[in-house]
Amino acid sequence: MATVAASPVLPRRREHPVPWKAMARVTWLQRRSTLIGLLVLFVGCAVAIVVGQAGTHASYASFVANGCVQNSFHTPCGNFENWFSDNTDLFSAMVIALHVAPVVIGVFVGAPLLSRELESGTFRFTWTQGVGRSRAVVTTFVLLAVFVTVATCALGLLLNWFAHPFEIIGIESQWQSGLFDTTGPMLAAWTLFGLALGTFLGSLIGRTVAAMAVTAAIVGGLLVASFVWLVHQLEAFGALATTRRMPMGLGVGQLNLPGSQFNGPVGSWLVRAWFTGPGGKRLSSAAANNVIGRMYDAVKGKVIVDPSRWLSVHHYIYWVGYQPASHFWIFQVIAAAILILLAALLALATVRLVRHRA
């Protein structure tokens, strides 16, 4: 008779569910003062934005009531535009404050997160508790990331709401690097990146002040680079081109101007302009300026009604590169995705450093 051998009973591994609630309590106990400080800052910014928006509400309502959104050329509209131009201080201050938020969070939340533990030796307490070092670090990071990301996203959305009248009137544009980096998704992505970089550098350097300084330098430097250069480069990518009849006041090269019924598709963002000459060859900047000079010389003393007539006679065409309004969120998603990807890589590198720290 055949017998069937009983299969050996293997010891079951204990399951260890991730203690999110418990780690939230630990995070709160360990970082109460930092979190309260951040909350005060966030609420302060939110209150300032709401107060600022309320201050512009009456003027913007009058601007809309006078039909200035459709046609801004009649008399009272200019007064409203002047009022908005004269009252940008708080708005500009909030744009700057929100730009600084990722640096502040990277420096004061991210950098000390692990460096303080390593410096003071408390990692020898935390990493030997039942929760385990990787889970302690990951859960703390995720909880802080959710808090700062949600808060800064909300602040970015509030700033967009504050910026809306300024954009309609034409003083500001969400395509400009200042506002491009402070929309809800982008501010949240920058903040997440700042937090992740600070945490990584803290675990790598192991010294709090040094980690804070390096984090401030890198996040601050990247934000400045984005403001000055990166956003313009991104927005120039895959720009559409159209010819315009009225090159007056635009010139050639980088533009970074809102499009209108005169200089480009309405609602678009003009990124650059150039001339093509006879045969369709693109002119260099020097050659283009020479053409503009010749055009002005030709019409000297006359009222220039349509300079494109002189240009077409001489087989020159003025081109404008632009991004249609519909591309704005595509660029937002691309830029935010790059930052989130970098943050995820830094977080993974941090976990690896923590896991192998011996």
Partner: protein, 303 residues
């Protein structure tokens, strides 16, 4: 079951070997003293046992076959690190709450009762407590985890004699109540005998002496007699240490054989402190358990 077992364990920090070819097995239910001079590798060995460091070579397991630092091991091994690194800016009550939330098994009532008995105020900041109170707090948090193995790295180093006594009394009371194993490293050799029943001596990253303290003491003797016969006596025994004066010599020897002493020579018991210091003075000497004899093997199999 062995609470800690290593095989050829080695740990290198850059170009310095902190541990080399360290092979040992610590049986369960013992209070183990880990002794050695500065830089001997005591902290490194303990860090490897609690998962704070990874071995460069060799293996280490805890509580049978658990990998140090694994979640299963961390749940059952409690550690009080050197200098008692606690969150100094937290109150005692918050520190207890942190420990409770970092562990799935934690007896908060027991911790609070112990802290009350120790008269440690729950609202005081940890950093404002005395060194002794901080050590007691760290120990209380570890004991509240109901560990199977308690690892203490130099717990007595910063404490005054009274605090040392109170600290070890708390450990002994908890061991008596729960029966867990303890490994503690210490420089205070004179007090080991009162607490420990198993000894590991580390020197230059290697295990130099290992075993049950009673067996180690029974296996050694201090022989004293005329200095001119010391070489002759020394040939009959494995000499660990020789001290010679003008007319008198003292030999610390292993007493494995039945050699008889010449007249004029006396044999005396050796204290644990004398034994440890003798081995530490001569790093080339070692006293490690060898293979079991046929008699021992028979006893081992029967039991």
């Amino acid at each position: 079951m062995n609470v800690v077992e290593t095989s050829g364990l080695a740990k290198r920090y850059r170009s310095t070997w902190a541990l080399r070819d360290c092979t040992l097995a610590v049986p369960a239910g013992r209070i183990v003293a880990l002794v050695g001079p500065n830089g001997a590798g005591k902290t490194t060995l303990l860090h490897c046992a609690v998962g704070l460091c990874t071995a460069t070579n060799g293996n280490i397991t805890v509580l049978g076959d658990l990998a140090p630092g694994s979640l299963d091991a961390l749940e059952r091994v409690a550690f009080v690190a050197q200098d008692v690194p606690l969150y100094k800016y937290l109150s005692v009550r918050s520190m207890v709450a942190v420990a409770r939330n970092l562990n799935s098994r934690f007896d908060q009532a027991q911790a609070e009762e112990r802290l009350r008995a120790l008269e440690i105020p729950p609202d005081r900041k940890v950093g404002k407590l005395s060194g002794g109170q901080q050590a007691q707090l760290a120990l209380t948090l570890s004991l509240a985890r109901d560990p199977d193995l308690l690892v203490l790295d130099e717990p007595l180093a910063r404490l005054d004699p009274l605090a040392r006594h109170d600290f070890m009394a708390l450990v002994m009371a908890a061991v008596a109540a729960s029966g867990f194993s303890v490994i503690f490293s210490s420089h205070v050799v004179s007090e080991l005998e009162r607490f420990a029943d198993y000894l590991i001596v580390l020197a230059r990253g290697r295990v130099q002496m290992l075993g049950d303290i009673d067996d180690l003491l029974a296996g050694h003797a201090m022989l004293s007699g005329p200095v001119e016969e010391s070489d002759l006596v020394g040939e009959q025994f494995a000499v660990v240490q020789t001290r010679k004066a003008a007319r008198h010599a003292e030999l610390l020897v292993r007493t494995t054989g039945n050699s008889e002493l010449p007249s004029g020579w006396e044999s005396d018991h050796v204290s644990l402190e004398e034994l440890v210091l003798a081995y530490l003075r001569d790093p080339s000497a070692s006293m490690l358990p060898g293979p079991l004899t046929p008699d021992e093997l028979e006893v081992s199999e029967v039991t």
